[in-house]
Subunit: 320 residues, 2 copies
């Protein structure tokens, strides 16, 4: 029997799950739509059914140790999803309590998706053996998981690690969270689109992007034209890198990590984003921190990172 953990990632559109061994191999997987279940009890029942089916597929060969769940606004202490703006379920959803009534594992834990990604990096990825690091997820939003002394920082209320909502410009861009000028509004995938449109208004350079609407534009397209020499797209990467570098320098001043990992769509732009982030992070850091902090791409496979991260929660919990 192989020792395994169930990893579940609850996303705005879909919820994916997998049974994962200690080396990060996914032995079975499944998914259900999240959006089509407006009521959380109906969703949770569908999720339990999907878990049962997946366990059934592997029951001859796996010894399942627990369930780990990554979710937006996931609270580790309470095992709940609380007021997640991108999910249909409103208010507080008691995910862990619900699963505990249906499954008999000692370990059933939940945290937010960026914390799960950080734990995934620590168990299966590039942060193996690191005690102090930060994971930054650059996707539709900007998430973060902060690790200090080998443990995720959950803080007093279980919600620590929201670097995406630190403020760059107090009167800046409107953020989905209700504030203005959050890091997320500049360095997420929609953030770099917003920067392109700002630059199309302030710069005079010719650009392919002048023929693309806001709705049509994607971070992938910006990457593509930047590589072909488009000045506006290149400037957008530099601007994004400066803002992310500035706020990462602030993050270093808080917890002085050994490394910062970048993960998610925008991180896949490689040098286009890593070079300016590194340059500006060094520029804005205090002398004592300079040339010490590694800026690294996540080593988790992009497609499976959510399941891996969630499953890693179980191994982390068993390690305690």
């Amino acid at each position: 029997m192989i020792q395994t953990a169930i990893g579940i990632d609850i996303g705005g559109t879909n919820t994916v799950l997998g049974i994962v061994d200690k080396d990060g191999n996914i032995i079975a997987r499944n998914s259900i739509p999240t959006v089509s279940h407006p009521d959380y009890t109906i969703f949770m029942n569908a999720l339990c059914k999907a878990i049962d089916e997946t366990i059934e597929q592997t029951k001859e060969k796996t010894d399942i140790k627990g369930i780990g769940i990554g979710a937006p606004n996931g609270n580790y202490y309470n095992g709940t999803i609380e007021f997640a703006p991108n999910l249909n379920f409103k208010g507080i959803v008691p995910v862990v309590d619900f699963l505990k009534e249906r499954f008999d594992y000692n370990v059933i834990v939940l945290t937010n998706d960026a914390n799960a990604a950080a734990i995934g990096e620590m168990i299966y990825g590039g942060a193996k053996g690191m005690k102090d690091f930060i994971m930054i997820t650059l996707g539709t939003g900007v998430g973060s998981g902060i690790v200090v002394n080998g443990e995720i920082v959950y803080g007093h209320d279980g919600f620590a690690g929201e670097i995406g909502h630190t403020i760059v410009y107090p009167h800046g861009r409107e953020c989905g969270c209700g504030k203005r000028g959050c890091l997320e509004t500049y360095t997420s995938a929609p953030g770099i689109k917003r920067t392109i449109f700002e630059l199309l208004s302030t710069m005079n350079d010719l650009s392919e992007l002048r023929c693309v609407s806001f709705e049509e534009l994607s971070a992938k397209k910006i990457d593509e034209v930047a590589r072909k020499g488009d000045k506006i797209a290149q400037e957008a990467f530099d601007y994004t890198g400066e803002i992310l570098g500035l706020k990462l320098a602030d993050a270093v001043a808080h917890t002085s990590p050994e490394a910062i990992f970048l993960f998610g769509g925008l991180a896949q732009a490689g040098d286009l984003i890593f070079e300016p982030v590194k340059y500006y992070m060094e520029k804005y850091m205090l002398d004592i921190f300079k040339n010490k902090v590694k800026l690294l791409p996540s080593e988790l496979p992009p497609g499976d990172s959510a399941i891996l991260g969630a499953s890693a929660l179980v191994w982390k919990e068993l390690d305690k």
Copy 2:
């Protein structure tokens, strides 16, 4: 025999030391000038002599458990002071190694002064029983000590907790650290003086402060005229509070503390500073953190806080 610890605070001008019991009573105290010893070996020899004299005074009644040292740019891991801009000693000063050759205690530890203040608050002050809090020291500079899960965050290199050098405006005021726009340049005692001079240039209101030179002006004077209704001084407190509130909201997004303690000269302005800081901190925080984080004055006696904080390092170490 009373169990005690020696607390030493190495400051730019003077170095103070005391023998402190577990309740925070200072049983004996001593001090030597720091500035008059340009060479660190001469200084360290003078310090050892002062320690010997102080021990001698209390040796009949105290059982000394160790030595704790607070110092600018103090590194906990290395027991060193490293490149402290406000001290005469250049480069790396191996304080703990030096003391270990002269004293036979199991515990001889050093950290930076703001971390020592945080531990002092945890052992003797208002943070007793708290697991997650932040100490902000508002003096000539702005220091911070971040506590997560009951432990100071030292980070990978021992230098974590430099919130005073997070950046408010990348092209803002020149900071002593060589960067621009650090929090310290706005919310330290010299920072609020700088704000007064900026406001004297931008506002037209009559003010007593129009007759005071930069050199003559003190944070105490600004406090005094603000209480008498001086518009410029009041605006300076509001501006200082907005900037500190903004960066404390960022700090909350990192480690989600139960409380933030303000300590030092500027914190003694009471409501004048606490009210705007609290208002803007709430304004700039993410909804999930609002109305949760206590903003509190330090409960350490101002005159003795440095000795108390340094001595508390010893109790903290023995608790491990």
